[in-house]
Point group: none
């Protein structure tokens, strides 16, 4: 084998991976948006086979030889090729450690567990879900060893979602946050609450669709490369940097729900649209981690989308979309309404200030479960105790408690912290951005071009060619520091609640 | 190898084929309906690879051995398995002649050509589409040799859409048709034309969407397994018999256009939904040929959908969908309006009587292009000349001329004749059906259940387990005979125009 042949094989391998990825992405999107209701079975048959084929691509002996050959010639490879080899090799090693039998059993378990979780949640019956969750925890503990035998198991799992993330970093991060947020929250709770009535009304889907178009235009999303569809739960997916899709869900009595979904998913979409062309069809094509991805979505949703300048610029457009309903509304009133703080039970509906506390509950439980320091049977009680401690709310039942999220039934342990990390990354990016450009002047005119350009240059274009920590440090000129997030929240909410 | 292992391999092979087919079907659907405008390139890369992988499935040496093994044990196989082996073996022989590289390049070309055609049509710019079309014609001429080196190239292409169809048969069929239709058309043209003003008005897309829902209900389409979307050119596609999609296109000044698209595509959909479960995930799963497929779509569109009993039953629903606009309309008036004969420019909007003449234009051009007797650059002029000769109309621009159909950009040469054949098959089926059930009594009550049941039993359930000729003869008790079609048209239009 010569180096040119090897490079061509490397390119072809990644392009084949891309083809399977593209197909599965669009099949999943189709299933959640356009497909008729009772079509899951046939799609499942196809998806199972495509996933198996994609898996096979990286598990053959020939791929091992190709990667070895290229690793030995590291010095001759350009930066991006070296990074591709590193990433592929990492996956190859992981896959080769997981016995095919266990992988199959685990896949089967997960597909059953999803169904059991759905039923358990519906019937508020945690014990019915418990055996499946016990097995999932056991598999995750075992797989953590395959992923990285040198790390503590939960660190290995964290690394799957955020390369380099550890309990040490997260413990520090969450301790800082908790120390700052809990007293702040107490003060906010004692202050008078803003009025939500000012945004009430009936908002037909057709009108909300026009608002979505307006929002996508304001965000600078290129509709020739980014479409919007409707699904039960909003999400973003992408086939490549020229083909990105967001979804939303419309509630006719609440236009804010879809509005903030569109802005949130729009942030994810801008990230994927901004990845450099040269990374397409390689394993470095997508956003680098869940944390960096959430930094983008939550930056647009909260830092921009819930700011007074943005809302001031948006208000006339809102009033034009919903004639006669928001005519008496002022920007200050809207600003206070969309930032109303209220400790609650459900993570996905939480406000910006309490959101991280929901994440911490899950983090604390996951750490103990994966370390083997807690029984699955003790989860509900521990969950409820932590909600009481962090958020000051009583959990009335497991449906609104430890059964609310789908993540564990899907096998995702180590994923939740990304949500809080993303928010914190975003605040640090804002600080750096403000030094470079006139963020709020532009936003106040409804012009996000400078914000978009900064993020594209500093974050988006790198795709997965840098690690999450490199991306952040590269953009901000300093390593991750949670103080920016705490400062941002303290300033915003002290001002909002006149503390 | 024992027979059980071989049968299991046969099953797995077809299921893997299904997975690729499912993925490519949905990617194509997505491209035509939900995808953002400028996304063809990445989709083309993925489709090219998936097509290549599907191609590889049937081109390996092992498959050849498997099929040989099973062919030698033909007597031990049940009917369906034997048919699967026959069909797979036919494809195997064909595919083993097509170099994988060419096959992949062609798939990529088609995916890009679709986008180019769309833009060329929009901008009335045939020269922009010409290079892609030249390549597609060249591939088709080459592939025709691979399909069947013993046949004339265009015969080989015809056989891909309608097994056993040849230019000799079609030349005869079209000659018969023209001999009967031209004098009839002359008489019709001399008779007073019905008034189209009675269906004029403004019909917002939202209201037309509701009409589509009504029509799908009347047709008996199960919405849990059949969805409707919107695309430039209406079509039907299916992943399996539980997942079928139709599309339509709405024009706000003309509700009849989408109405008849929905009925037409609904006929295709009923066929696919009616294929037997036992054929799913095998190579016998879909409708058997384009001709039989068009017999179903055009049966519902014209024979049922443009009949007086159907329109009588539908009229109150139309009036309810478009309040205030069709209130003075009578069933007889509507019947005469939707059957108005008028030589025109656009095939998909042509009346039943002139429709075959549109098909003949395309047939004549395809014959010459594939025989190498005409340059692609000469298509617009030749197209316009044939429209003048057959239909007596002047083509003002290519958008309304040779750029109107998507077929060529999709690589379909030899497909158009199926439309005329399908119409003729349908008339013959009606004659047989009328002997078995009270067709018009049911239709007049808006109840298509007996019609649907007859077609499901006689045609749909067989999928591709019988040949097109067997399906027709099996349903009608006699081989194909164009006289039924001529009789049907002569009777209908003599009556309508009181000749």
């Amino acid at each position: 084998m010569d180096i040119c042949t090897a490079l061509e094989q490397l390119r072809a391998l990644q392009q084949r991976q891309y083809a399977y990825y593209h197909a599965m992405t669009i099949l999943e999107l189709d299933g959640a948006t356009a497909a008729p209701r009772d079509t899951a079975r046939g799609r499942g048959v196809a998806m199972g086979i495509l996933a198996g084929e994609k898996h096979k691509l990286l598990s053959g002996e020939e791929v091992g030889k190709l990667l070895s050959f290229l690793k030995e010639r590291k010095e001759e490879l350009d930066f991006l090729t070296r990074r591709q080899v590193e990433e592929l090799d990492r996956s190859y090693v992981q896959l080769s450690r997981i016995p095919a039998e266990e992988y199959m059993d685990y896949s089967r378990l997960l597909s059953e567990a999803s169904e059991e979780w759905r039923r358990a949640k519906e019937e508020n019956d945690f014990p019915a879900f418990r055996p499946a969750l016990e097995q999932i925890v056991a598999y995750n503990r075992k797989f953590a060893r395959y992923y990285d035998p040198d790390k503590r198991p939960y660190d290995a799992l964290l690394g799957e979602y955020e390369r380099g993330m550890t309990m040490d970093i997260l413990d520090g991060f969450f301790a800082t946050l908790r120390a700052g947020l809990v007293p702040l929250l107490r003060k906010v709770a004692a202050a008078p609450a803003p009025d939500m009535g000012c945004t009430a009304g009936h908002f037909p889907v057709e009108e909300q669709r026009r608002l979505s178009d307006e929002l996508m235009a304001v965000l600078g999303l290129d509709r020739a490369h980014c479409a919007i569809a409707e699904s039960e739960h909003p999400f973003t997916t992408n086939a490549n940097n020229k083909d990105v899709r967001i979804t939303t869900h419309y509630y006719e009595e609440d236009f804010l729900s879809s509005m903030y979904s569109v802005i949130h998913e729009g942030g994810h979409a801008l990230y994927e649209l901004g990845v450099a062309d040269e990374l397409q069809y390689t394993c470095l094509a997508g956003g680098v981690s869940m944390g960096i991805h959430e930094s983008q979505s939550r930056f647009y949703e909260n830092i921009i989308g819930r700011s007074k300048p943005f809302l001031t610029a948006l208000l006339p457009r809102l009033q034009a979309c919903f004639p006669g309903r928001l005519s008496g509304l002022g920007a200050e009133e809207l600003y206070r309404a969309v930032n109303r703080v209220e400790p609650s039970l459900i993570r996905t509906e939480a406000d910006e200030l309490t959101y991280s506390l929901h994440v911490m509950v899950r983090y604390e439980l996951e750490k103990k479960l994966i370390a083997g320091e807690m029984e699955v049977g003790d989860v509900p009680e521990a969950w409820n105790a932590l909600y009481r401690e962090y958020l000051g709310v009583e959990v009335p039942d497991d449906r609104q408690g430890c059964l609310q999220d789908s993540h564990w039934s899907g096998g995702s342990f180590g994923y939740f912290p990304s949500y809080a990390l993303g928010s914190a990354y975003g605040a640090q990016m804002l600080d750096a951005m403000e030094k470079d450009v006139d963020v709020w002047g532009g936003v106040g005119r409804g012009d996000l071009s400078q914000v978009n350009a900064w993020l594209r240059e500093k974050i988006h274009r790198h795709g997965s060619s840098l690690t999450p920590a490199q991306v952040l440090e590269n953009a901000c000129g300093a390593p991750f520091d949670p103080k920016y997030y705490l400062d941002y929240l303290t300033k915003k909410y002290s001002d909002l609640y006149r503390l």
